[in-house]
Symmetry: C2
Subunit: 477 residues, 2 copies
């Protein structure tokens, strides 16, 4: 070890929300922790994903809600004000300034190291920053939380497409926007730019939107996007792309699509290409596979990974969950709290030291219009997992609470029941204002609360949560 090496008990590589959480919890038993970040502390979610996306979606959502209500509709004149929406988005993204995050990191006693980290060997890293290169050594553990990057198909690389980063941080509204992909980013950004006045065309390789969700979810979003003026081409791949002074020209089997910008929203991959993983006998570019303690199984006891980089989860909230678990595991194993160490060494599923919820109760909310929210299994994923399930469906428009939100409220919900155990293993909600309905389902799934007990959880009238009563009735209670 050269004399200039800096040693910490724990090094967290990647200072997004996930890395911050891991670092914070790892430091709780007194371990010294360094947090290495090459860009902005706070990460993708704060500056180029969840937060700016939701900020951009909100004005259109709330205006649509008002337009749907007699007594309010006549007070709404006009659509989303792009410059005000962008200005608010800039605030939500903290003007892409991480000073607030940095002061939080420092306030909890974590050492921030700015720069790009590369492994040089087990527990050893170099960090290339503006002030040159620093060598860091982790006495006990390294936690990798470098997240993911948008996957840009080869055919589009030459036209400098937008990724989610550009779409969420843009101050321009392209007159014509092509969106390649029909997942969460695709539908949210198609909604945003349609609200802002773009002529949006979605090019979707498969035959539906939001393919990870129940089919009815993607269908509802598809219909709503079409009603909003978005053109959707399913079964479509871009075979060539060129950019010239007139914009981008995308050749597909349907013909050539001319657009001013093209957003690539065709998936993400683990950000491990430039981490020097070869120095620790792991494959650069591949996800870091972990166990329920978030330990990288192939590396022995010192390496952990959390968040998108693991390929295990793909959302900020679930990454933060893993980060809490990993941080607690590291604090327990390497800190000097005997009770924690003992608890961790004997940890069972659902212990705070095991990320048990990653298995079957991961929630996802899409802030499209209608909103889509699901947790755990879909009917088909449950069957694929060998669970004998029954789907319980309910049309949300039949709820008294829905009729109050809007005369023509349309929505749908499905509960997926493990028939043998009588418990909920999944739920999906689609409709305006369903996002906050999800957590009750998540609690039911994680708490393994039998439907017979949920029968006693009375929803307040007239809320949308009354769907739980209808689930019970429909299931035969």
């Amino acid at each position: 070890m050269a004399p200039q090496d800096e040693t910490f008990d724990v090094i967290v590589v990647g200072g997004g929300a996930v890395g911050e959480n891991a670092a914070d919890r790892a430091s709780r038993t007194g371990l010294s922790v360094a947090l290495v970040e090459a860009a902005l502390v706070g990460g993708e979610c704060s500056y180029w994903a969840c937060m700016p996306s939701k900020a951009l979606l909100r004005p259109g959502t709330v205006l649509a809600a008002a337009r749907a209500v007699p007594g309010a509709a006549s007070a709404v004149d006009g659509g989303v004000d792009a410059s005000a929406a962008f200005a608010r988005r800039d605030e939500v993204a903290s003007q892409w300034d991480d000073a607030g995050q940095v002061s939080w990191v420092e306030s909890v006693g974590i050492t921030l190291v700015r720069g790009a980290a590369r492994f040089t060997g087990p527990r050893c890293l170099t960090v290339a920053g503006d002030d040159g290169e620093r060598a860091l050594v982790a006495r006990h553990a390294v936690i990798v939380a470098t997240g993911s990057v948008a996957t840009v198909p080869e055919v589009l690389r030459g036209v400098e497409p937008w990724t989610s980063r550009d779409a969420t941080s843009s101050h321009q509204v392209p007159a014509r926007l092509a969106v390649v992909g029909g997942g969460v980013v695709g539908v949210e950004m198609a909604t945003v730019y349609a609200d802002l006045g773009s002529a949006v065309t979605m090019l979707v390789r498969g035959d539906r939107l939001l393919p990870a969700a129940e089919p009815f979810a993607g269908e509802a979003v598809r219909d709503a996007l079409v009603a909003l003026g978005v053109t959707i081409r399913f079964g479509t791949e871009v075979t060539s792309a060129v950019r010239d002074d007139d914009g981008v020209h995308l050749t597909t089997a349907w013909g050539v699509l001319h657009a001013d910008e093209v957003l690539v929203a065709a998936g993400r991959h683990a950000r491990t290409a430039d981490l020097g993983l070869e120095a620790i006998d792991l494959a650069p570019g591949a996800p870091l596979h972990v166990d329920d303690a978030l330990q990288v199984e192939a590396a022995g006891g010192w390496l952990f990974a959390v968040g998108d980089v693991t390929g295990r989860t793909g959302t900020t909230h679930q990454g933060k969950y893993d980060a809490r678990v990993a941080g607690d595991v590291v604090a327990a194993r390497f800190g000097d709290d005997d009770a924690m160490r003992e608890a961790e060494s004997g940890a069972e599923p659902w212990s705070r030291y095991r990320a048990t919820a990653d298995e079957a109760s991961v929630p996802q909310v899409v802030f499209s219009r209608p909103e889509v929210a699901w947790v755990g299994h879909t009917e088909s994923s449950a069957r694929d997992a060998g669970i004998d399930v029954r789907a319980v469906d309910y049309d949300l428009g039949n709820l008294a609470g829905a009729s109050v939100l809007a005369p023509d409220y349309q929505g749908h919900a499905r509960l997926v029941l493990d028939d043998a155990r009588g418990t909920v293993v999944g739920a999906t909600f689609v409709g305006p204002e369903v996002a906050e309905l999800l957590h009750a389902a998540t609690v039911a799934v994680v708490g393994q609360v039998p439907l017979a007990r949920l029968w006693h959880a009375v929803p307040s009238y007239p809320t949308l949560s009354e769907v739980w009563l209808r689930f019970g009735e429909t299931a035969g209670l």
Copy 2:
């Protein structure tokens, strides 16, 4: 028994939502059921309470939400359109026509008997309807579901005040409205009429609004009502009242309040005054006290009561819960399904045959601005009940999800934890769009899910439900 007597297995007295539910479930083992209703089938909630109230509140709520969002605010010009709001309310209240409800009743095989019922003896009633008087006999059971009526203080009886029925069904906006009472009806109707342009003054006997809720809830609603232009006089009783051509004049210790209408929202009482309870040795005017099987304890095995008339619950949703339990108990005890009979006779708490949730997990949502939602215990009610609790507080404005809803989102939440058991015994949420947050808390309370397990119920980012993560962190997890 005179020859003209009509005999049914079960008679349900009162055809509101609660009575309908009880009748429906009681009929499931093949028992013949009569449903007696003197006014509109569907009851208070459908025509003169929850539903029209929420319909009247919705336009102001959604416009306020839009005005709070940069990018949307500039598209909102003007306030609630009273005539459109009233017209929509009229639709929600089915134009006070119960044809839809009646056809549902008939479709499930229940016999509707229109008229006012009076007991003439055990299991015997007369019903005075437009076509004269009918004598009904219940072979097995009578379920009383006559609900409650607004309590009008003596001092106000001479001025023909509005009750909740008038306030929710009015087609007029009084220029000056006095509201007597600071409970749910008072705050909801003060909000509605302030939105519609009335100058509203609330006269509240106590020192806070929503006295059944956590104190911070009433404080938030108070501040918001004042900001909306409502005048609130606490510690105020009306000592005399007169009506003349200039309206109503209410004398209080503060002086005389002049108003065009006065709404009395000072509580409700069981509707039992005219039921002929003296014929079955019960006290007219008093609530019908019941056990967890909804059986009127003082009457032997044939009399049940559900909903407001019991004094046990005061909301539609909890009354319907009791109705489901009572209907199931009646169907089991008197029907010919041996398995049901056996299950009911050995029923334990949380069985479908016992209304266990009435004890400690009753939810309430107030659709004021901000919304207020609570379930189970408040901190003080838990202490009064002898539970060793810890309150876990969180400022909802700190949530990422709140900042997306509105830059200046204000809200607060409290979890009440049973420290010994590690479970949730109550929760309160105050803020815009918190209504649907409640059900997760209800599931946690009813499911007795330990906080350590709730730690694994990951809220989706950035929703308001992330408060559950903050609850866990604040509680020390």
